[in-house]
């Protein structure tokens, strides 16, 4: 949630000495009437959403007294505005507005810097105002180190004939607004309107701030638990996926749920891409065949198998999807066997009961396809792997054909996962590797040793142990390649298990 609500944005403005109307955020009608009583003046009650234009859809009301405030809050709370269910209202002093102005700061890709935009005329329909009255607009590029100085702000406003007292307040507001943008690393900040009241005071009557997703880690005080650009609040699954990505800098895992309430007459697929550009094209290819996508997901930038596994588990947790479609750029520089192994582990654990088509084109693609297809032979549904010479369109065609042929089992039983007892265990970056030694003793292949890519396992009295220190394994010497577990499943006695917890989301 890198987008802040109006009330959160206004808190940041206040800290930087920008005047805002006195107000309180409320979750219930009772709280709203209490807030109105405390303010002791006529109030505005405003739905807290991420969108502008709330007034037009009944998201804003005015009340003369606490009783009215309670009634209006009751109407607004729970209302759905553009995908967005209103959970909070801001109750604040109603201003007697004489004039409205506008200010925003956005990061401009042409200027390659933050750009301040000020308009002498503000209010709803600012895009149209900007077109109709270009002479009322100022655009100014901000130096990220020095911000906006007082004299710069005053010089900017010179072209307008603003009365002295108001002029000083507006110029202070602009200077401070730039400070807010720089301090919180905002992708955008907007005050619309800047209200000039009958009494000659200047307020930020509304405000919207979007913080850079990638900078959220530097602003723990904002309490942002989810930093992705979405048009609606994150779902529990979105949040879970984000928690996996947050602290693991190895490769990229991006997930957003696109559909939650599946319609009866539509068919939905779990989508698992690799690389943004190729993923978008693959999505187009499958959507052209009349399927809906339950989610968007991208694992790329050479992620470890563990990250791909968790991505697959999250995709498969979407109950009611009819198929699993994986396709990205098609010619990936990353080692595709890691993706294949991650998928295989998830498919086996879920006893995959929906057809899967995965395009694994890229480095080591032949081996990746072999792992994907051979190691999933035991699951009920068909799993097909493709390489760089198979187009996204062809893969979408195969997906379509498999979906038409395959009848999922009525009652699919997931196998028991994990070991009966654990004799030896070591931690990895995000999980742990476990062994059950009575099975290891029976094993003649000892394949875990040679299948370990970073080469950190050795035999001791016929059983696998770490050849590096426990601390090194946890710090990343164990790359979570899943080689040991999957090869053991295929060629050993099933005595090895890589435990990669994904918070319970059943």
């Amino acid at each position: 949630m890198a987008r802040l609500f109006e009330y959160q944005s206004k808190e940041l403005l206040k800290k930087q000495n920008i005047p805002v109307p006195s107000g309180k955020v409320c979750q219930t009608p009772k709280q709203a009437s209490d807030a109105a009583r405390e303010i002791n003046k006529p109030v505005a009650i405003k739905a807290q959403t991420w969108f502008t234009g709330r007034a037009a859809v009944g998201g804003i009301g005015f009340a003369e007294n606490p009783e009215e405030a309670s009634g209006i809050a009751k109407n607004i709370l729970g209302k759905t505005i553009r995908n967005f269910t209103v959970g909070e209202v801001l109750v604040e002093e109603k201003l007697s507005i004489k004039d409205e102005m506008f200010a925003s700061i956005t990061i401009d890709d042409l200027e390659r810097a933050p750009v301040l935009l000020f308009s002498l005329k503000g209010g709803s329909g600012i895009e149209k105002i900007a077109r109709d009255y270009p002479e009322s607009i100022i655009k100014y590029t901000i130096d990220i180190n020095s911000g906006l100085r007082d004299f710069e702000a005053l010089n900017l406003l010179r072209k307008f004939d603003i009365e002295g007292k108001i002029l000083l307040q507006v110029s202070r507001l602009l200077v401070n607004l730039v400070k807010v943008a720089l301090a919180y690393e905002a992708r955008s900040v907007e005050i619309n309107p800047i209200a000039v009241t009958e009494e000659g005071k200047v307020f930020a009557a509304d405000c919207r701030i979007t913080v850079d997703d990638y900078a959220v880690f530097r602003h723990p005080d904002l309490g942002i638990t989810y930093a992705r650009e979405l048009d609606a609040p994150p779902t529990p699954l979105d949040k879970l996926a984000y928690s996996i990505e947050k602290d693991d800098y190895r490769g990229t895992f991006y997930f957003i749920q696109l559909e939650k309430n599946f319609k009866k007459n539509e068919r939905y697929l779990g989508f698992h891409g690799a690389g943004g550009g190729g993923s978008m094209m693959s999505m187009d290819a499958i959507q052209r065949r009349g399927y809906k996508l339950a989610n968007f997901c991208d694992t790329s930038g050479n992620p470890p198998a563990s990250k791909v596994y968790r991505a697959a588990k999250i995709i498969l947790s979407q109950k009611g999807i009819d198929g699993y479609f994986g396709s990205g750029s098609g010619v990936a520089s990353q080692e595709q066997i890691h993706s294949a192994r991650g998928l295989v582990k998830a498919f086996l654990e879920e006893n995959l009961n929906i057809p899967a088509v995965i395009r694994l084109g890229g480095n080591m693609e032949e081996k990746a396809v072999e792992i994907l297809q051979n190691y999933t032979k035991g699951v009920p549904a068909p799993v097909e792997g493709y390489t760089k010479d198979d187009s996204a369109d062809y893969c979408a065609e195969r997906m379509d054909e498999l979906l038409k042929e395959y009848k999922p089992l009525k009652d699919n039983k997931k196998p028991e996962v994990g070991l009966k007892k654990v004799d030896y265990e070591f931690e990895t970056v995000t999980g742990s590797v476990k062994f059950q030694y009575d099975l290891c003793m029976k094993c003649s292949s000892k394949i875990c040793i040679e299948s370990c890519e970073p080469n950190i396992l050795k035999l001791e009295n016929g059983a696998p142990v770490l050849a590096v220190s426990v601390a090194d394994a946890k710090k990343g010497k164990c790359t979570e390649c899943l080689g040991c577990e999957l090869e053991c499943r295929m060629h050993g006695e099933n005595g090895c298990y890589v435990d990669l917890p994904v918070e319970d989301f059943a």
Partner: protein, 299 residues
Amino acid sequence: MAILIDKNKRVLVQGITGREGRARTRLMVEYGTNVIAGCTPGKKGEKVENIPVFNTVEEAKEEVGDIDISVIFVPAPLVKNAALEAMYAGVKLVVIIPDRVPIYDVLEIEKVSRITGARFIGPNTLGILSVENGVLGMIGGRAATASTWFKKGNVGVTSRSGGITTSIGYYLSRVGVGLSTLVHVGGDAIVGMPHPEVIKLFEKDDDTNAVVMFGEIGSSQEEQVADLIESGEFTKPLISFIGGKAAKKGTRFSHAGAIIEGDRGSHEGKVKRLREVGATVVDSFDDLWETTRKIVGKL
């Protein structure tokens, strides 16, 4: 001579002892890139692929001599410091591989690049590859793979998607269209060298006769390329595909740069503008290589 990287350029790797740094240094060296030093603070004296490691860029420069290019593989929160370090040490081209670099950090890198006269590629880039010359970053993943996938020739590639950069390179080579240099400009909203900057270099490059551009929704990079064609600053054939036609407004599909804000950067607008100035824009990605082959064949 290809653009940005050739056999003579002296290359440093920052973050050379990390997981990605090690793996990609091997790729670069095996493909023929002249990697002469690496940096990781505190690891002076170590060697990676037989390349000496130093604590700072300045120290590396004193020990091994001038450095033309630095390739950065450090975690995103540390990128700004690494890039500024390289630029202030006099490195004129910095390639920033990591994803998730905070945008205000990029703006500061941008500012310092102006002060120091340096350029940068990325962040969030797969890198640059000049066929049979050298690679910066991770295009191809392994040297043996990169040598098989990309054939030498005279078509330049510039792309806003990493995976698509390799895809275009491979598919063009497969139909017999050889390549000069492949550039992934980076997937973020602000990148050091967007399409128009790369296009200007291709214009000056004798080894490049035509350019294939993979554009995306968001930002105004493709519109700026159209401006260059219109003003006569780019005169070679341009064949392009713009991705993201189906994307929803305001929602990001992976690339931070691929977000439509208001009416700016729309798919329709970009296609229209490029066609207006005479560029070839294909409607289907899969048409890109055959179309390019035909156009290049007539040159």
